[in-house]
């Protein structure tokens, strides 16, 4: 085959990649050793980062893209896809991760935003992006910018699933509500939620977002993961929940199985038995305004 007949970095390839992650668990890892544990447990991909969200909360200061050496180390350690986080709007961090060869970039509110006005113009990249969202308008604005995957934001690093539930229920509820609207009402609703009308109509027709929608931000147990799947998530991200638990290998394996059998409580009971302690949790109502991550980017 001649090289010019090949097409790279298309929308179909980006969304197709995201689609292959469905029914899977994507785990935060900070080094090669953790990445291997995640792969061994059955993770579909790992998210490489400098510190997991609960440690970012403790450390404070500006949280940035991980050291390229760390990303490289994780890429070399595993055969499953490796993702990496960049700051909202920081397109140069994204260029760096693309060159390093990460398989997907998370433009993430967990890191300190670099631009309070604009997100990254994701269509300029060959690598696919995942972005956080709390409601339908935010999800569709990100898709319009080129995101190939959405994850509901939740509240990262808390081990508390309440915000993840709120955001998944909001998005699924808004899509269900669309079905009762006619085209004019949809156009009006699109203006109200500040989203492109054609994407609103596409959601109404398909009864779901046009891209894969995972859940993130607060999942700490196999039951949490299965809860998000039953609420309609296509898969889950687990951040601090694995390596801040007392037995990461067992927690990782159990969450993978709980996602696979999310509608079978007998399996969830079995895999939840004797897991040790989940990560310590935080009551989100005790967070100061400047400690809340989900409001970054809109």
């Amino acid at each position: 085959m001649k090289l010019e007949e090949l097409r790279f970095g298309t929308e179909l390839l980006k969304r197709g990649f995201a689609s292959m992650q469905k029914g899977g668990v994507i785990m935060d890892v900070v080094n090669a050793e953790q990445a291997k544990i995640a792969e061994e447990a059955g993770a579909v991909a790992v998210m490489s980062l400098e510190r997991v969200p609960s440690d970012i909360r403790k450390t404070g200061g500006v949280a940035r893209m991980a050291d390229p050496e760390k990303v490289q180390e994780i890429i070399e350690a595993v055969s499953i896809p490796v993702m990496g986080k960049v700051r909202i709007g920081h397109f140069v961090e994204a260029q760096v991760l693309e060159v390093l060869g990460v398989d997907m970039i998370d433009e993430s509110e967990v890191l300190t935003p670099a631009d309070e006005q604009y997100h990254i113009d994701k269509k300029q990249f060959k690598v696919p992006f995942v972005c956080g969202a709390r409601d339908l308008g935010e999800a569709l604005r990100r898709i319009n910018e080129g995101a190939a995957m959405i994850r509901t934001k939740g509240e990262a690093g808390t081990g508390n699933v309440v915000e993840a539930v709120r955001h998944m229920r909001t998005i699924m509820g808004e899509i269900r509500m669309l079905r009762g609207l006619d085209k004019q009402e949809m156009a009006d609703y699109a203006r109200e939620i500040e989203a492109p009308a054609e994407l609103v109509i596409e959601c109404a027709e398909r009864g779901r977002l046009p891209v894969v929608n995972f859940s993130a931000g607060g999942i700490a147990t196999p039951s949490d993961a299965a809860l998000m799947m039953q609420l309609g998530a296509d898969g889950v991200f687990v951040g601090s929940g694995i390596f801040k638990s007392s037995s990461p290998e067992r927690m990782a394996t159990a969450i993978v199985e709980a996602v696979n059998h999310f509608d079978d409580p007998r399996v969830i009971a079995k895999v939840s038995t004797g897991l040790g302690d989940a990560m310590p949790g935080l009551d989100v109502h005790t967070l100061r305004d400047d400690e809340v991550l989900q409001t970054r980017g809109r």
């Binding site: 790279f8 179909l12 390839l13 292959m20 061994e40 059955g42 896809p81 990460v102 398989d103």
Partner: protein, 196 residues
């Protein structure tokens, strides 16, 4: 014949394969007399006339096939298997990766992620031996290739890196994703070779 097509639903691109088979059955006039459903247990598999193993993460799917006691039942399955991407990896007799427990149903050696990482994923118009209606628009995502195919297999297409489509009787294995589009010729071809 009434078709009961099972799509292995442990992880990956399951709903797209269900939709593609539904469309293929409708286009071949079998829509009303057929069923397409998810296979998650040995009991589901016992109900199928043919099986699809979709793309996804092969290490994860391999692990969950073992955990869900599906390994031997799939090996003993009498119908044809339509295996794409990760599915192709699992059909092999040899995979150079200890994390994969291959089913050994097609005598071939598979190399995972043979083209590289996601940025090297590509689309191409691919000619396939015996396929009518011109080349097939093929989507390769972190795709595997076959580096050795035994004499029992029929090669349908190859790229520089290796073989990307092949058949063995009622089984078909593809490196790429025919379910990510509305061209159902390969699904229809598979249904025909399975007497549907």
């Amino acid at each position: 014949m009434d078709a009961k097509i099972g799509v292995l639903a442990v992880q990956g691109n399951v709903s797209e394969h269900i939709d593609a088979f539904l469309l293929a059955l409708e286009r071949t006039g079998h829509g009303a007399s057929s069923e397409v459903f998810e296979v998650r247990s040995p009991a589901d598999l016992a109900d199928c006339t043919a099986l699809s193993i979709p793309g996804g993460e092969s290490t994860t799917i391999s692990r969950l096939i073992d955990k869900n006691d599906l390994y031997e039942p799939i090996r003993q399955f009498k119908g044809g298997i339509f295996a794409t991407c990760a599915g192709m990896v699992l059909m092999a007799t040899e995979v150079a990766d200890s994390r994969i427990h291959p089913l050994g149903l097609m005598d071939m050696t598979v190399d995972r992620n043979a083209f590289g990482r996601q940025c090297e994923s590509f689309e191409i118009d691919l000619p396939l031996a015996g396929l009518e209606g011109g080349s097939f628009h093929a989507v390769f995502i972190r795709a595997p290739v076959v580096t050795r195919a035994g004499p029992s297999l029929t090669v349908l297409a190859r790229l520089q890196k290796g073989i990307v489509a092949l058949e063995k009787g009622r089984h078909m294995a593809l490196s790429f994703h025919p379910e990510l589009g509305d061209d159902t010729r390969l699904h229809e071809h598979f249904l025909r070779t399975n007497g549907i």
